[in-house]
C-alpha cells in the first residue's frame, strides 16, 4: 500500500465517521436519549439487542470504526497475493456477522411479521457463513508448497 492509498482510505473512514456521527456532533438530541433509564427500560421490555444493561454512546462506535478500519487496512494490505481469491471468500463469510442482528430479530418475542423478516435475514447470513468458510477452506487446501506435499 502506498501512502496515497492509505490517505485515501483514512479519508474514507473519516468521512464515513463524520456522516455516522453528525447527529452527535451537532448536538441534535442524540444517544443520551438512549442512555436514559426510561428508554433503557423500554428497550428491556422490547427485548432488543442491548438488553438495556449498558448502551454505548455514538462516539465510542465512531472510534471503534476508525480503529477497525486502520486494522483492516494494515492486515489486508499484507495478505499474500497468492491468496486474494480465498481472501474474497473469507471476508465474505466474515461480513455475514449480520447474523447477530438477524438472530435477535428472529428470536425475540416480536410480532410475527417482524420475525419472518428476521428469519429470512438469518437464513441469508447463515448461507453466507457456511458457504463462505467451506469454500475458503476448500481453496486453501489446494495450496501446497512443495512437489512432495502436492503429490501426497
Amino acid at each position: 500500500m502506498t501512502q496515497r492509498s492509505v490517505a485515501l482510505l483514512l479519508g474514507t473512514a473519516l468521512l464515513w465517521a463524520a456522516v455516522a456521527a453528525w447527529p452527535a456532533a451537532v448536538g441534535a438530541s442524540p444517544a443520551p436519549g438512549s442512555n436514559a433509564p426510561a428508554s433503557a427500560a423500554e428497550t428491556e421490555a422490547s427485548g432488543a439487542a442491548g438488553h438495556g444493561q449498558e448502551t454505548s454512546d455514538s462516539w465510542s462506535m465512531v472510534f471503534v470504526l476508525l480503529l477497525s478500519t486502520f486494522i483492516g487496512i494494515g492486515v489486508i494490505a499484507r495478505v499474500s497475493r497468492l491468496l486474494h481469491t480465498p481472501l474474497m471468500s473469507i471476508t465474505n463469510a466474515i461480513s455475514a456477522i449480520a447474523v447477530v442482528g438477524s438472530i435477535i430479530v428472529t428470536g425475540t418475542d416480536f410480532p410475527v411479521h417482524i420475525r419472518i423478516i428476521g428469519a429470512i435475514a438469518l437464513f441469508a447470513s447463515m448461507t453466507n457463513i457456511v458457504s463462505g468458510f467451506l469454500i475458503t477452506d476448500r481453496m486453501l487446501k489446494m495450496f501446497k508448497q512443495t512437489r512432495g506435499e502436492a503429490k501426497s
Partner: protein
C-alpha cells in the same frame, strides 16, 4: 448469558476475526485463518442466541438449518464459478442487512419516537440503502458473470443515464434525510418503503452500464458495500463486533479493488463513476498482419530443447479448465530437468488471484507461481515463454501505445523470451479488444485451438516421445 458475558464473547470474537485475516498473509498459516474465523462466528452466534430475550428457538433452528442446506451446495461450485458465487453471497449479505434495518425501523416505530433518535435513524437509512443496493447490484453482477440470457452481458447505455442515476440516488438520500428528521410522521412508513424500492432499482441501474468483464472490480466494491452495511447495522444495534467485522470486510473490498484498478492502470474513480458511461470500444486493427502457426510436434521439440520455460496463464486457461493438463505438461518438462515457472499477472483471469487458485487446484506448488514483478527481470534469459490463453497481460502495446485502453498497464515481458508459443482459439482479440503485437513477432508461434486440447496434445507428444529420447 449475562450482558457482560455476551460482551466478552464479542470481544474475543473481534480479536479472532483480526487474527483470521492476519493469518491470511501466508499460505502456511491460512488454514488457521479459517479456523479462527469459524470459532469467532460460532462464538458470536452462540452468545447472541443465549441471551435472555431470545426465546423463539425453533425459528432460529429452522432458519439456520435452511442456511446450511443452501450454503453447503453453494460451497461446492466449480472454481470457475467462484466470482458468481461471491457476487451471490454479497447479495445475500445485502439482503440480510437491509431486512434487519427495516425490521428495526418498524419495531422502533411501534415503540414511539424516543427510540428513533436521529443517530439511530441515520444509521438505519444508511444500512437500508447500502443493503438493498448491494442486493440487486450483486444479483445483476452474478447474472452477468454467469452469462444468464436475459441479463445483457454488454454494457447497456441509454439517453440521460447518468442524470437519471444521480437523480435516483439524490431522491433516495432526500427521503432518507426526511426520515431522519421525522422518523415517526404519518408518511414515514410509506416513505421508508419507497426508500427501499429506490435502493433496489438503483442497484440494478448502477450495474447495467458496466460490461461483464468489469464485474470483478464491481464485485469487490460491492464487497465493501456489504461490509459498510454491516457497520451501519452495528451502529443501529449498538454492537461493536458488527462494526469491527464490517470495517474489516469494507477495507478488504476497497483494497482489492484498488489493487485491481492499479494493475489495469485505471483510476479507482474511473471504475466507480466512469462506469456510468459507455466503455470505449477500441478501434480494430487497420491492416491484416500475419501469424506464424506451429505444429504440436514442432512446439514440443522446442520445449524439449529448452532449459528454462515460463508459462504465462490467462483467462483462456480458466475458461478451458486446462489447469490439470498444464500440470501434466509441467510434470513432463520438469522430469526432463527443465526449469518451469509460472508468471502470474495480478489481473490475469477475471478475479484477483484467479490463476493462483486454479494452478493450486492442479497441485502445482505455489513456490513455482511467481509474481510479475519478480519474474520480469528473468524473462530475457528465458528460452521459451508459453502463453496459455492470456492476451492483454502480455500485450506490448501497453508499454507505448497511448491510444489503447491498456496503455500504462504493467505487463509480463513475454516478448523478451528467446521464443514464444501462444495458445488461443482464434485470431480474436482479448478482453480489451485490441490486437496483440506479440503474436506478430518473428519469434512467436501460434498454437491455435482450445487450451485444454492443445496442452493435452503437447503432453501426449512429449510423453510418447520421451521413450525415444
Amino acid at each position: 448469558m449475562s450482558h457482560g458475558m455476551v460482551q466478552l464473547a464479542y470481544l474475543v470474537a473481534t480479536g479472532l476475526f483480526v487474527f483470521s485475516l492476519h493469518w491470511m498473509n501466508s499460505p502456511k498459516t491460512a488454514r488457521r485463518a479459517v479456523l479462527a474465523g469459524v470459532a469467532a462466528m460460532t462464538l458470536a452466534v452462540l452468545a447472541t442466541w443465549f441471551q435472555p430475550g431470545v426465546v423463539h428457538h425453533l425459528w432460529i433452528i429452522v432458519a439456520i438449518a435452511a442456511g446450511f442446506a443452501v450454503g453447503i451446495p453453494l460451497s461446492r461450485v466449480p472454481l470457475t464459478a467462484v466470482p458468481q458465487r461471491t457476487a451471490l453471497s454479497h447479495a445475500f449479505g445485502g439482503l440480510a442487512a437491509g431486512l434487519v434495518g427495516a425490521a428495526k425501523y418498524f419495531l422502533w416505530l411501534g415503540e414511539g419516537s424516543s427510540q428513533l433518535t436521529a443517530f439511530r435513524m441515520t444509521a438505519i437509512v444508511a444500512e437500508v440503502i447500502l443493503g438493498f443496493v448491494t442486493l440487486t447490484g450483486s444479483l445483476m453482477a452474478a447474472g452477468k458473470l454467469q452469462e444468464i440470457k436475459w441479463i445483457p452481458q454488454r454494457p447497456v447505455t441509454y439517453p440521460f443515464q447518468n442524470v437519471g442515476n444521480i437523480g435516483l440516488l439524490s431522491a433516495a438520500v432526500l427521503i432518507g434525510l426526511a426520515l431522519v428528521l421525522n422518523p415517526t410522521a404519518g408518511w414515514a412508513p410509506a416513505a421508508f418503503i419507497v426508500l427501499i424500492l429506490l435502493a433496489l432499482v438503483f442497484g440494478v441501474l448502477l450495474i447495467i452500464p458496466i460490461g461483464g468483464a468489469d464485474m470483478p472490480t464491481v464485485i469487490s466494491i460491492l464487497n465493501s458495500y456489504a461490509g459498510l452495511s454491516a457497520v451501519a447495522m452495528g451502529f443501529v444495534l449498538d454492537n461493536k463486533l458488527l462494526i469491527t467485522a464490517g470495517a474489516l470486510d469494507g477495507s478488504s473490498g476497497l483494497i482489492l479493488s484498488i489493487i485491481m484498478c492499479r494493475a489495469m492502470n485505471r483510476s479507482f474513480t474511473n471504475v466507480l463513476f466512469g462506469a456510468f458511461g459507455k466503455v470505449q470500444a477500441a478501434a480494430a486493427g487497420t491492416e491484416e498482419r500475419v501469424y506464424k502457426a506451429e505444429t504440436i510436434e514442432g512446439a514440443s521439440q522446442v520445449l524439449e530443447q529448452a532449459s528454462t520455460v515460463v508459462i504465462i496463464p490467462g483467462y483462456g486457461m480458466a475458461v478451458a479448465q486446462a489447469q490439470h493438463r498444464v500440470r501434466d505438461l509441467y510434470n513432463e518438462l520438469t522430469k526432463r530437468g527443465i526449469q518451469v515457472k509460472f508468471a502470474i499477472h495480478p489481473v490475469a483471469g477475471r478475479m484477483p488471484g484467479h490463476m493462483n487458485v486454479l494452478l493450486a487446484e492442479a497441485e502445482i506448488p505455489y513456490t513455482d507461481l511467481i509474481e510479475m514483478d519478480e519474474i520480469n527481470p528473468d524473462m530475457p534469459q528465458t528460452d521459451v515463454a508459453l502463453v496459455i490463453g492470456a492476451n492483454d497481460v502480455v500485450n506490448p502495446a501497453a508499454r507505448y501505445d497511448k491510444s489503447t485502453p491498456i496503455y500504462g498497464m504493467p505487463i509480463i515481458d513475454a516478448d523478451k523470451a528467446h521464443a514464444v508459443f501462444a495458445i488461443k482459439r482464434s485470431k480474436n482479440p482479448g478482453f480489451a479488444g485490441i490486437d496483440n503485437e506479440l503474436y506478430f513477432q518473428d519469434k512467436t508461434f501460434m498454437l491455435f485451438g482450445d487450451a485444454k486440447a492443445v496442452v493435452g496434445d503437447l503432453v501426449k507428444q512429449l510423453s510418447g516421445g520421451s521413450g525415444m529420447h
